[in-house]
């Protein structure tokens, strides 16, 4: 339990730093800026304290916003993900006796990817809506959401595998 908290804190800081200093400087095709800090919201234990999780997701978004000099879009998007994540878990993994306690523990690939896609899509959609904040930019919002989600998904899927191995050892 104790090591769990330490892992949580360390991964929080690493994710923030990596996002801000590495991925925020990455512009795939000139405009795609993958957001891998969602990894933190993915790997947080499903059965852990939900209230703390909302607070943590707020702090995470706030840190990203603060360090990347953006408005408050990251904060709102990740806070919302923190709030709706239990619903996403229920929807994508189903309410069964074998509902997983962590993302990495589950072996059902389809459910895992469904969860990831939903989470990333919702987050990105919300993020770009807040960034553009204009009805006229609907096309831009959708385009950015879909393309950025694709790259975020690939990166998060890759890194979560690595995370799993790290955790196991």
């Amino acid at each position: 339990m104790n090591s769990n908290i330490i892992t949580l804190i360390i991964s929080f800081f690493i994710i923030v730093l990596v996002q801000v200093f590495l991925f925020n400087n990455m512009f795939i095709f000139g405009f795609i800026n993958p957001m891998i800090y969602l990894l933190f919201l993915v790997v947080y234990r499903f059965d852990d304290n939900q209230t703390l999780f909302i607070l943590l997701s707020f702090v995470l978004g706030f840190c990203i916003d603060f360090l990347s000099q953006s408005g408050g879009a990251h904060t709102i998007a990740s806070l919302t993900i923190g709030f709706v994540r239990p619903l996403l878990v229920k929807y994508s993994f189903g309410v069964t006796s074998e509902s997983p306690s962590t993302f990495q523990n589950d072996l059902r690939k389809r459910n895992k990817y469904l969860f990831l896609v939903l989470l990333i899509l919702i987050h990105h959609l919300l993020y770009f809506i807040i960034v553009y904040f204009n009805w006229n930019a609907t096309y831009l919002i959708l385009k950015n959401t879909i393309l950025t989600s694709l790259f975020s998904l690939i990166l998060i899927a890759l890194i979560s595998r690595f995370y799993k191995k790290l955790n196991d050892t």
């Binding site: 209230t51 909302i54 607070l55 707020f58 706030f62 408005g71 408050g72 904060t75 806070l79 709030f83």
Partner: protein, 273 residues
Amino acid sequence: MRRIIGALVQFRNPVLYFVLLGLSLLFLNGRSHFHQYYLEKYSLYFSQSFYNISSDIVNYFRLKKINDKLLKENKILKSFQLKSNGISLYPNAIKAKKRFSFKVIDANVIKNSYLNQRNILIIDKGHEDGITSEMGVISDQGIIGVVKSVSKNYSSVISILNQDLKINVRLKNSSAFGSLSWKGTNPNDFQIDDVVINSSIIKEDTIITGGMSSFFPLGIPLGKISNYEPNTKSGYYKINASLFEDPSQVYYVYVIENYDIEEIKKLKKDILK
């Protein structure tokens, strides 16, 4: 209290979420001018509709105050209007710098009778407010009557709906003089007597005060001619007229004070001697 805390604990996640969402919106508002602009636009839109409702309600309760203010303003405008009416009808008025000897006092009607043959009104201003008998009383669209007797705070007014009251009038487009009086039946039926048959009359011509009595200044529009026929036997027209305003439905009136009334009265006496 315990229940509120219980509810807060039970719904702590949504509560926390919305509190933090509000915080982050504030954060967004503070950091980005673009979002500030849009958020202000939306908040203005919402607050405007709320303000509209609340201002409607507040306005309703302020109506009396506004009414009083408008009445005061009307009083001033009325005196200007009377003055300009007079000036426009005297061809050489501007050159001659005609002095205007009338002053306007506003009053509320507190009793108005219109069912008798000789009707009177009571208004809520008396000699404390500078009202004396034999002052003219007008409303915003015509004449109401002449002050009869005055007490400290109230005065009685002989209504225009009184067969004894004859008002000196003239026609706007033909300058024919006559006297207007009530027929005694319908509050809108009036007749004009003493118009000589050789003056030309246009149908629907506006009737204005003639300025020959000391009660009313020249040129207050009263009503219009509804029909007329020449009475060749007597040499006068028989003219039926209607007023612009129903005198039985008047609540705010203006009393006209004539500064020169004593002077005129004295002259009249001198003639009679």
